[in-house]
Symmetry: C2
Subunit: 204 residues, 2 copies
Amino acid sequence: MSRQPLAQLPRGRPRSFDVDAAVEHAMNAFWSRGYHATALPDLLRATKLSRGSLYAAFGDKHSLFLRALDRYIADAVARMDVELSPRKGPIDGLRTFLAGYVERTSGANGRRGCLLVATAMELAGQDSEVNRRVAGFFRAMEARVASALSRAKTAGQLAEDVDPSSAAKILVCFVEGLRVVGKTAPARTTSQAIADALLDRFIR
Amino acid sequence: MSRQPLAQLPRGRPRSFDVDAAVEHAMNAFWSRGYHATALPDLLRATKLSRGSLYAAFGDKHSLFLRALDRYIADAVARMDVELSPRKGPIDGLRTFLAGYVERTSGANGRRGCLLVATAMELAGQDSEVNRRVAGFFRAMEARVASALSRAKTAGQLAEDVDPSSAAKILVCFVEGLRVVGKTAPARTTSQAIADALLDRFIR
DNA sequence: TAATTTGAGGACCGATCGGTCTATATATCA
DNA sequence: TGATATATAGACCGATCGGTCCTCAAATTA
């Protein structure tokens, strides 16, 4: 047995800023303006780092962007795991899930948009690293929605002839479409009404 | 009565390129890369114009972009006016409309994306001229889809409890969501299947 | 203390950005 | 012919881009 490769203590001055917090602030900057329109001074202001520290910690703008995108995706997936948890009723879970999207895609929240959708449109066609992440996110969402719909189906809560897997694809398209239309800041009540109307077409 | 203000003939050398064709080529350039990532050399290459001619004809990059966006929107609205014409059966029209979106959002077409959705995500939050156009397009689409659904309803072709106006909003979100998910180049057959499945929830 | 590493701040780099302008040729009208 | 307007080509502009480097102070380990 080899000796435990104890993490060697770093010898110099320890890093004094929170890397995850910096990623989060960078995420917010990219979220507000998109990748190309976010310049280095924007990122320095958002993270409160110097150029040197930022480049030492993250390498370059593109790498930092991928970290920010990963953070955004992880947050969204974690939220779905709570909302659509198997420990909750599947229909209640789907209602919560949709209500969350309604909230995030109406009024001022809607106008702010979605980092993932903006990134998909701006970069996914040209950047394979981005494309992988975007495609992975859609798969993750679809899997969780399909799982909830399957549970609803076995519980007899779905209307006849509703296939959980194709209904899940429909709901994914719908909520991503909400993000697009949400850029025009629709009223929360009308978005909520159509989300309800759609879900009602699927349940018994 | 005053004299007819006859359009004065221009006195110098007449313009020798087709302005509309130039707008179309610029539109294709913006469509491929988005607003910020499309640089002036890209536009000069696409339009085959010199810097001088382009600036004389269009003013600046932003103005040219608005012309290109207007062209894109006009094309899309004209297509919907044909597909959803009152002279055709409303359900057939909606099927044609959806099939067109399926075609444009799957495979390589899907990967190319949509100038309007990309613009909505990239600029609508910051650029009021863009925002007006994006919001206007969604309204135009919704109106045409709602009209078709209304005609279907009076013809008894809609399922019970389907409200044409909220179903129209749902379909608008769905097709714009298709454009987003389409960036990952899904198979045409699966997109067609879910479009059919959704429409089937609304018709009798 | 000496060595090491990070910190902030900013000078500096080549490249590119959107946009203006000049020179010269060409095509129209009066 | 002379005036006018457009054409191309490219020089040129200041500003900004992403990224590197340097200086000096501070914080840690050896």
